[in-house]
Symmetry: C2
Subunit: 242 residues, 2 copies
């Protein structure tokens, strides 16, 4: 892990860009150290595009005493494209524009290779981040592609709690993995999410094996998550990581 | 409204029993006055039996700066029985013990007369409570028989926000009333509630006309609401009544 830039934000949060091999990432740390860590998931739109929302989440978490970090997803930003996923995305768009149902094959081709490639990268990032003296204590995962969160919750024992956003296409195979999740979960659902089948989201919530799992459903579309929903998620992490 | 007893609880909350005509009730006020008011709904099991849970909710609310009050429901406690509701309750128990579905007729007979009789009583209590100098500001309604909460939210303009518990039988007619609700709602659902059909609860949540409505679903049965769910509800009221 190599730090490539460093700036102090006006609220005292230290923001550092880094590379992990060829993968770019960003680490935010609060003044109080060592701090527990929340990994910030995000949709595969590229870190640069996602930066405003990521830094807002990072500041909010820092105010609660958490360090946060994120890395570029495979195929996003300046990283090499994933040709199979690009093809699946084109198929998905075509299906949605034609008003056709999105087939399981398209969803599998879009999501499963992304999960297979991304999860070991997040684990490698975790290795590097946890070796820093300013990071300590338990780790949470928050948001982003829900299937990446599910796989991480199953395979990565250092993650103690996860806040998931029921807002992306979920391969059927992930339902089986969801049954194996046992860590506390906080699941956010936008009730009228145009890109998300509500019943699938409810079925997925039902499938999670965790004894403590909470569903917070709010009104509005995919990007309409109300401010107070973020506050509730913050309290979930404070309860489990502090 | 006649106060019949008064005691100061160890956390400084003033607890006063009162009668409103023939209806007994309890008022809890925090040290800071005037305070906004939350009406504490409860199942029709009698105030005496419900007292431990009610006083816990009252103390929690007082710590957040709220006054709380509750009244005995028609047919409960020492109040005269409602013969039609008693018959419906016997029919309900017989159906449940026999493992039969509970018919719409039984649910209507159990709930609708209770709502019709209880709601004007809560409104009369509100008249009396809002005339006290130690009560001021907006009013919330919390918990109890959800159909009473729905009707109150529709007919009582002084109630600005409601926290409802999706945990009781709901007559089909109440779905129509739910569509007329416009105040902010915080709906609690116990995912594995043995006495509550999950799909009916989700459909009811969907039916509410409110632009701001949030569903919080937690694991466990009817009485297994986790502590943090109470904290989330408290924040909802703080957001809307302060």
């Amino acid at each position: 892990m190599q730090f490539t830039s460093e700036q102090r934000l006006d609220d005292g949060v230290l923001e550092r860009e880094f590379t992990l091999g060829e993968i770019p990432g960003i680490l935010w740390t609060p003044a109080s150290a060592p701090a527990p860590l929340i990994l910030l998931g995000h949709p595969p739109l590229g870190l640069r595009k996602m930066y405003p929302r990521l830094v807002a989440r990072a500041r909010h978490s820092a105010a609660d005493g958490f360090a946060t970090a994120t890395i570029e997803l495979p195929g996003s930003g300046d990283r090499p494209r994933l040709p199979a996923a690009e093809q699946a995305l084109a198929d998905l768009r075509r299906a949605m524009e034609a008003g056709e149902p999105v087939s399981d094959e398209i969803i599998d081709a879009l999501i499963l290779p992304l999960v297979d490639k991304a999860v070991p990268e997040w684990q490698a990032a975790l290795d590097a981040l946890l070796s820093l003296p300013e990071i300590g204590g338990p780790v949470g995962y928050s948001g982003g592609v829900i299937s990446i969160g599910i796989r991480l919750a199953v395979v990565e024992p250092r993650i103690s709690a996860a806040g998931l956003f029921a807002g992306s296409f979920v391969p059927r195979a992930m339902f089986e993995e969801a049954r194996q999740v046992t860590i506390p979960l906080h699941v956010l659902l936008q009730w009228d999410d145009e890109g998300n089948d509500r019943q699938v989201a409810l079925d997925l919530f039902d499938a999670f094996g965790s004894k403590e799992k909470t569903l917070h459903a709010n009104m509005g579309g995919h990007t309409g998550v109300p401010q107070f929903a973020g506050d509730d998620a913050a309290q979930f992490f404070t309860r489990h990581l502090k």
